[in-house]
């Protein structure tokens, strides 16, 4: 299910995700104090190039990482094989990538 190429993509995306996830958890702990509001979130992110790059990279890495992870689970636990497995991997990658890009645009564009 995983050859060297997919394995390297998954571990590389994991290495990229590590500092991003740590920052994300830190931001969550900070932002959740006093409750969440759209104004507070957007005030922090709208028009910010650094946050756009941060979350853009986050979405790209997580789309790669999650699609390969789901692929392994689908193959081993649910017996998915062949072109269905490739299709599923690509579908998860595309769904997360498109929805994620849309979300990043929504919260960081001016």
């Amino acid at each position: 299910m995983l050859d060297l190429r997919l394995y390297m993509l998954q571990r590389l995306s994991a290495l990229i995700l590590a500092p991003l996830v740590l920052t994300h958890i830190g931001v969550m702990i900070y932002a959740v104090q006093g409750g969440l509001s759209a104004a507070e979130i957007l005030g922090r992110t709208q028009g910010s190039i650094p946050w756009m790059l941060f979350y853009g990279l986050f979405v790209a890495a997580v789309s790669v990482h999650a699609s390969i992870g789901v692929r392994a689970v689908a193959a081993e636990w649910f017996g998915v094989r062949g072109s269905a497995l490739s299709g599923l991997t690509l579908a998860v990658f595309a769904i997360l990538g498109i929805l994620g890009a849309r979300a990043v645009y929504a919260v960081t564009a001016l």
């Binding site: 590590a18 969550m28 702990i29 959740v32 409750g35 992870g69 789901v70 998860v92 919260v107």
Partner: protein, 113 residues
């Protein structure tokens, strides 16, 4: 039931990593969808975010942050296992990863309430 050939700590670490990863992958589309409301209908986003004041939703968030932190710290252990010289203390490291995940997610929960 957990089969006897799986009843050891590193298999449970594997299961936690897999289940947390799967749960996060399922959660992400919803997360992205809600955030994109900022563009389409900001009122709907605020309406959604007002839910997060409910205790039950805060508990669900606690669970999600725990899964994220568990996948993060557990993943760091796996990266170290694969790319650094072998350490015989894998069970201790796995337990430490779970402890750190509890610490981080509880910090989040205490900030949220």
């Amino acid at each position: 039931m957990i089969s006897p050939h799986r009843s050891h700590p590193l298999w449970f670490a594997f299961l936690l990593h897999r289940v947390s990863g799967l749960a996060l992958a399922l959660f992400l589309p919803l997360h992205f969808y809600v955030l994109a409301m900022a563009l389409t209908s900001p009122e709907a986003l605020d309406g959604f975010l007002s839910w997060t004041d409910m205790t039950i939703v805060k508990l669900a968030e606690y669970g999600l942050v725990f899964l994220l932190a568990a996948h993060f710290f557990g993943g760091l252990r796996l990266l170290a296992l694969e790319f650094l010289p072998w350490s015989p203390r894998q069970k201790t490291l796995a337990a430490g990863a779970v402890a750190l995940a509890f610490f981080v997610s509880t910090t989040f929960f205490l900030s949220a309430v």
